[in-house]
Symmetry: C2
Subunit: 257 residues, 2 copies
């Protein structure tokens, strides 16, 4: 199974601690050795690092670990290939522009026989079910609205689309435009919101702890979303199967299962 | 002035030698300290590294220098801001998907009062004249063709578009989809094609030489395109103002001034 990791905050935050445990799942503590990727928004701009090497051996992962990029929205993915060869164009996250903003998408799961019609606005470059699903989502939204709609309406339409697509198989995904982060659970997805008073957290995958009180300010609020909980001494919330959560400024804004 | 660097080859080649001299122009041997970026195609997939730090101090540039990514098509850019703030979303190269392929674009110059109408297919995310020009080019091509046209027809239309846009100011650019690389000269652009028999080249910006005979095979053909020649002991060809060159497999296929 692929692994997803997301972060949505009210202030630019580095993801080093979470990434430390997460990237080890790419070939060391778990079997996800078919490439990986991570996208960091800075305002509307985005950096996407992709690698078709396992994340535990990747020089690009090394860079990310040593270079504390501060971001309000991050999506990372470690791939276990189900559909599509192990090639760069099949690595998540995928990026497209819609309504004058970049949108980033990563998927964990397997959609059987999902073949939406060729898009007018968006077409896949690689051969994955995931990129087809991403293009289909954007295509549908872009046909419905010519510019960014009101947030509640966007949430409702994505909820409807997630329901439509998960009929084809496992469809855990994250989607962000640098302000909003949508997380959809089809089988496994967990989140935690860290805010004052901050405590010490200890990684599941590595004997590493961090005392967030020493690296945050009292107003910081950080939501971390992951396939499986990354720490073993905090209370993570499991999303229900079929649940879509919208995060903004580190807060779950809408939840609906 | 910004600096452009491009490479188009018939076999995946690393750009370390050219990048070694080029990246020093970002803050050390020249004044281009407003960010930089580089895009590497691997087949239809692409990696884009962007940084709003000067390239001579950037940890991302450090990674690129130490990690020999082999690519058939590369476009790199060092930015001297003329329009648009120094922000990540204003760093070149820009990327969009068209006809199921990624297209990469970088621009050196300054387009005064260039304000094409809002696009149906493509909209800028940042505030540069360069991204507006890129979106306008793709928008025009996408309206004209629903799928990749014949290469000669595409060249002719890009030649027409380049002429239209350079009426607004300096418009040196490079554009690639991972197979074709278009280079347009409005003021300064030079290229060299390296092929057997290979010789030793010596960088202008640094006391570094490489004997290409030791790192190539007899069938390799590599075109390098740069704002100014990168080596001082090879014969670079200057493009004429108004000239558009299309490279494929390391060969200038069409040239027209």
């Amino acid at each position: 199974m692929c692994q997803l990791l997301g972060m949505n905050c009210n202030t630019p935050t580095d993801i080093l601690f979470s990434f430390e445990g997460f990237h080890r799942r790419g070939g060391l503590t778990d079997h996800h050795a078919d490439g990986w990727g991570i996208a960091f928004f800075e305002g509307p701009g985005v950096r996407v690092f992709l690698d078709d090497k396992p994340s535990s051996e990747s020089p690009v992962a090394d860079l990310v670990r040593r270079y504390p990029i501060k971001s309000e929205n991050v999506i990372a993915h470690i791939r276990k290939a189900t559909q599509g060869e192990i090639r760069l164009e099949n690595c998540h996250p995928f990026v497209r522009e819609m309504w004058g903003r970049y949108w980033i998408f990563a998927h964990n799961g397997d959609l059987k026989s999902f073949a939406p019609p060729a898009g007018h606005f968006y077409r896949p470059v690689g051969g994955t079910d995931s990129e087809r699903a991403f293009c289909h989502i954007l295509e549908t939204l872009r046909h419905k609205w010519g510019a960014m709609p009101e947030t509640g309406a966007l949430y409702a339409e994505l909820d409807r689309l997630a329901r439509e697509i998960r009929a084809f198989g496992v469809f855990n995904f994250m989607l962000s435009n640098g302000e909003l982060l949508f997380a959809h659970c089809s089988t496994h997805l967990h989140f935690i919101v860290r805010q004052a008073p901050f405590n010490t957290a200890h990684l599941v995958d590595d004997d590493v702890s961090v005392d967030f009180a020493t690296v945050t300010t009292p107003n910081d609020r950080v939501a971390v979303i992951a396939t499986q909980p990354l720490t073993d001494n905090e209370a993570w919330t499991a999303l229900a199967p079929g649940e879509l959560v919208l995060f903004r400024d580190g807060t779950p804004l809408y939840r609906d299962a």
